[in-house]
Every structure is written in structure tokens, then in C-alpha cells.
């Protein structure tokens, strides 16, 4: 589904503050694979994810999504395949817009945003129905501005928004980093269910080793811009949580 071939990313090349964020990574993420990426700060995890999403373009190497070379395609056009949940709830939703308007935009992620009014009763009911599956009681607040909700609620809604339109790849960049443990658990469980229900190819960056252990069917450890360990589904079955902790020891 996603292929990265010898991808390099260097920030500020040739300058004193040059950073080799990603050093020649080769990675193949299969269809419906749920990949978890762990690694210390500065190991290149987020840069890798940003390059898949297209918000950063690599210096060299190529990236393919669903068999198409997307190396030079800007991020907003990759939304045809990719939905994202950001670390900060503020980045994934528009605070001043109503929940409904946020969902409307998500529902036409892969389509042109035209000059017709798309928010009608049918759409409202559709959104209410979707939101009620969260069990947070938000279905009656769809006219409220997104900014009035808590971080956990917003992250959960961002997840739901990602499957409002045809979605193949879901990128999760530390989606629970800013949340309390309870909200974090709800968000992670929702993500896991959506990934299974919609048969998504997913990539999760996390610093929470428990989440890394509990979720996903493949796990890689990154360090200094390279993949240090790559544990496939079968190996992950026998992996123990303590092994993960040992990687960081």
C-alpha cells in the first residue's frame, strides 16, 4: 500500500544546523497493516510520517501510495488516500467552525469543495448517527463550535472525521499525547475499531509502549533516522511488553 524507497530527508543542508532526519529508509507497509512506530525524540518518526502525508517532501528517494508515485505530489492532493490525526487536537479540527461544518469538510475530503450547500437535514442525521457511536453524548451538540469541546472529544471526533469519506490510509501522530489516560484509552480503542471496521492501512507513532504493545500488527523501532528493529505480525505475537521497554534501556 505504501512504499518508501531509499528516502532521505536533510534539514538545513550544508549549514551548521544540518539535521539528517531520515537516512535512506526503505519501508513497505502492506494493505490493512497497522504499523506502530516507536523511537526516541529526534529519531525521525514524525518526519517519516510527514513525508508519507506530503507535508514534507524528501530530498531523495521515492514514495508510492497504492502503486502510484506520489513523491512530488503536495500534501493536500494526497488526501485522496490519506486521513490524518495530529498530536494536537487543534491541528486536526477547526475551533471556530461547528462540529457539523468540520464533519462536512471531512465528508468531502477527496472531492472538490464546490459552490453548493452540502449541510442539509440528511447530512445532519448522518453525522449525528456517526457521532452517537462514540457514546460521548456529542450528537446533540453538532451546532456547537469545535473549540468548546475538550481535547479528548476533539481527537475522537477527528478520528471519526477521517472515515467520513473514502479513506485508505490513516496516519496517527501521537494522537493521545495531549490527553489524560482515560480519554487516551477511548481514543486508542476508537482508532483500533475504525481501522478494523474500515480495513484501513494505518500507521501510529507513539511514546506509550503499552499502546505500542497492545495495538497494531507490526512494530518498528527508529533511531537516528533509520529503522533499527522491524517486528512483523508473527514476531509481535510472541513479543513481551518488557522486550519493548528493553529497547529503550
Amino acid at each position: 500500500m505504501i512504499d518508501l524507497i531509499n528516502v532521505h530527508k536533510i534539514f538545513n543542508p550544508g549549514k551548521a544546523n544540518q539535521v539528517n532526519a531520515v537516512n535512506g529508509i526503505n519501508l513497505n507497509i502492506k494493505r490493512e497493516e497497522f504499523l506502530v512506530i516507536v523511537g526516541a525524540n529526534g529519531s525521525g518518526k514524525t518526519t517519516l510520517l510527514d513525508m508519507i502525508a506530503g507535508s514534507i517532501l524528501p530530498n531523495s528517494g521515492s514514495i508510492h501510495i497504492d502503486g502510484k508515485d506520489v513523491t512530488k505530489i503536495p500534501g493536500y492532493q494526497r488526501s485522496r488516500w490519506i486521513a490524518r490525526v495530529f498530536q494536537s487536537p487543534l491541528s486536526g479540527t477547526a475551533s471556530d467552525l461547528s462540529i457539523l461544518d468540520n464533519f462536512r469538510l471531512a465528508a468531502i475530503r477527496t472531492k472538490p469543495k464546490g459552490l453548493s450547500i452540502g449541510v442539509n437535514e440528511t447530512f445532519k442525521n448522518q453525522v449525528k448517527e456517526k457521532i452517537s457511536t462514540l457514546g460521548m453524548g456529542l450528537e446533540n451538540k453538532i451546532e456547537q463550535p469545535m473549540g468548546t469541546l475538550s481535547g479528548g472529544q476533539r481527537q475522537a471526533l477527528t478520528l471519526l472525521m477521517s472515515v467520513m469519506d473514502n479513506c485508505k490510509v490513516l496516519l496517527l501522530d501521537e494522537p493521545t499525547a495531549a490527553l489524560d489516560p482515560r480519554s487516551a484509552e477511548i481514543v486508542m480503542r476508537t482508532a483500533d475499531e475504525l481501522i478494523k471496521d474500515y480495513k484501513l492501512t494505518a500507521t501510529l507513532i507513539t511514546h506509550n509502549l503499552k499502546d505500542a504493545f497492545n495495538y497494531g500488527n507490526r512494530i518498528i523501532l527508529m533511531g537516528e533516522g533509520s529503522i533499527i528493529k522491524d517486528i512483523n505480525a508473527a514476531e509481535k505475537q510472541v513479543l513481551k511488553q518488557n522486550d519493548l521497554f528493553d529497547w529503550f534501556a
Partner: protein, 289 residues
């Protein structure tokens, strides 16, 4: 009383500029100073076409196009060359001064004895009343168009662009393009104000745009204060408040002149008035908390 009627009519003329500033400042979160230039540009295009006896129906499209072009230019400089929006606006505004001057060929172009919007349509016999109905019609049409636009999928994407750029980009919107369109739209509206004012006052002057941005800003800030006060989320109501803001602003200026404040101090009064409006919510907020 006539004095206040004129203020009301001017307020209606400035509604378009207020809506323009509302779009650039509140929706896109971009401080756009192109306004001073594009407002005069609107007046200049109107004056030239009118004095060359061009048919009335091509003047408005020409004015909208000229304003949009100026705004798009600021947008392109801002997004493609990655230049600060404020500076991009100042650059275009400065350049427009020369453009306007060479277009007109002189610094002032009177529109006496040419048939304008206000002489062609006769709804009431009193010229001021006539102007009132024409302007009201104009403002209602513009507001309906903008209100509809903001409700469409495109409009929601516009509103999200100024709110959460990372989000809207991940939802498949080219934010650079969106900002260029937004600034074009804002300045097209500004130019429409120039178009209305020129015909209303009967001349176009090269310096008519100096400091005009404060009229738009003041109107929007009055509206914003009311919006926050009453916790308004409706798009339609917000637009109506922006129009109200434009009219209140002109009325306040009329009151100032009426009570005998020296006309030379008008800009100072304007600045102080806007300052008071801006600081009002914060002052009252401190009291309650």
C-alpha cells in the same frame, strides 16, 4: 437631519469594504492593507469608464475585476513568495497609487454631468432617498451572495483555512489558492465601495483611499464586539452585524462633527473610537472576573 442621512448612506457605501475586511481579517486571519489602493482603484475605474460614457452594466464587472486582480496580486506575493501578508499588502497598495494616478492622468476626476448609478435609477424623487433605496438594494444583494458563499462547501473550506491550516490541508484544500481567492474576493468588495462612493460623492480623488482601511477595520471590530457579546455563531447574523458596524461607524463620525469637533481632528477621533471599541470587551471582562 440630512447630515445623519448622508452618514447612513455613506455607511451603506462602506458596507462592501466592511464585508471585505471581514473576509480578509476575520475569516482568513490576514491583515490586508491592499484596501487603501483597491478602494481608490474601484473609484478610478468607475470614473474613467463613466467619463468615457461606457455602458453602466460593464462598469461594475470591471470594478470587481480590477479589485480582485489587486487582491490576487497581494495573495500571490504572500503565498508564493512567502512574504508577510502585511508587507505584501503595503507593496501592492503603494504600487497602486501610481497605477491609479496614471490611469486617471490627474489627481481628481469630477463626475458631474455624467449619468451614474444614482441618476439612472429613479425610485424616489428626493435624491437622498433615491440613493438610500439603491444602496440598500445593493447591500442586500452583496450580503446575500457572501452569506450564501460562506454556507457552501467552498465557504466552509474558506472559513477553515483561516482557522486551522494543517487540518484543511489534510482535507485536500490547496490553502495557497484559497488565500489568493479570499484576498481577491475581499478586494473586489473593497473596490465596489470605491465604485459606490465615487458616484455618490460625484468625484474620484487619488487620496480618497488614504486610511480607508480603518473604516473597514472599525466596522468589523464593532461587529466582532457585538458577536462576542451575544455569543453569535450564525454566519448570517455575523454579516448583518458587520453591516451594522459600518453604519454605526459613520454615524459616530457624524455625531462627532455635529457636536462641533474640528474636522481636522476627524482621523484622530476615528482612531480613538476604534481603540475604545477594541478595548471595551477587555475592560468589561476584567470587571466581571
Amino acid at each position: 437631519m440630512d447630515f445623519y442621512l448622508t452618514a447612513l448612506l455613506q455607511g451603506l457605501c462602506f458596507s462592501a469594504i466592511a464585508l471585505g475586511i471581514y473576509i480578509s481579517m476575520k475569516i482568513f486571519n490576514i491583515p490586508d492593507i491592499t484596501t487603501d489602493g483597491s478602494y481608490t482603484l474601484g473609484g478610478v475605474v468607475t470614473a474613467i469608464l463613466l467619463t468615457h460614457h461606457q455602458p453602466v452594466y460593464i462598469i461594475l464587472p470591471a470594478v470587481i475585476f480590477a479589485g480582485a486582480l489587486a487582491g490576487a496580486l497581494t495573495g500571490i506575493i504572500h503565498t508564493k513568495l512567502k512574504i508577510n501578508a502585511l508587507l505584501a499588502g503595503i507593496l501592492v497598495m503603494t504600487a497602486l497609487y501610481s497605477v491609479n494616478l496614471s490611469l486617471m492622468g490627474r489627481s481628481n476626476l469630477p463626475l458631474i454631468n455624467v449619468s451614474s448609478l444614482f441618476t439612472l435609477i429613479n425610485i424616489a424623487t428626493d435624491p437622498n432617498q433615491n440613493a438610500f433605496w439603491i444602496l440598500l438594494f445593493f447591500v442586500i444583494i452583496i450580503t446575500l451572495l457572501i452569506g450564501y458563499l460562506l454556507k457552501t462547501d467552498f465557504g466552509i473550506a474558506m472559513r477553515a483555512t483561516g482557522n486551522s491550516e494543517s487540518m484543511i490541508r489534510s482535507l485536500g484544500v490547496n490553502t495557497d489558492r484559497m488565500k489568493i481567492i479570499g484576498l481577491a474576493l475581499a478586494n473586489a468588495l473593497t473596490a465596489v465601495s470605491g465604485y459606490l462612493i465615487s458616484q455618490f460623492q460625484g468625484f474620484t480623488d487619488i487620496s480618497m483611499g488614504i486610511g480607508i482601511v480603518i473604516v473597514g477595520l472599525g466596522s468589523v471590530i464593532i461587529a466582532e464586539t457585538l458577536i462576542n457579546w451575544f455569543r453569535i455563531t450564525s454566519v448570517w447574523l455575523s454579516l448583518v452585524l458587520v453591516l451594522t458596524g459600518a453604519i454605526i461607524f459613520q454615524l459616530v463620525l457624524a455625531v462627532t462633527l455635529d457636536i462641533g469637533v474640528d474636522a481636522n481632528l476627524l482621523k484622530l477621533v476615528t482612531a480613538v473610537f476604534v481603540l475604545i471599541i477594541v478595548s471595551l470587551p477587555r475592560i468589561t471582562f476584567k470587571k466581571t472576573s
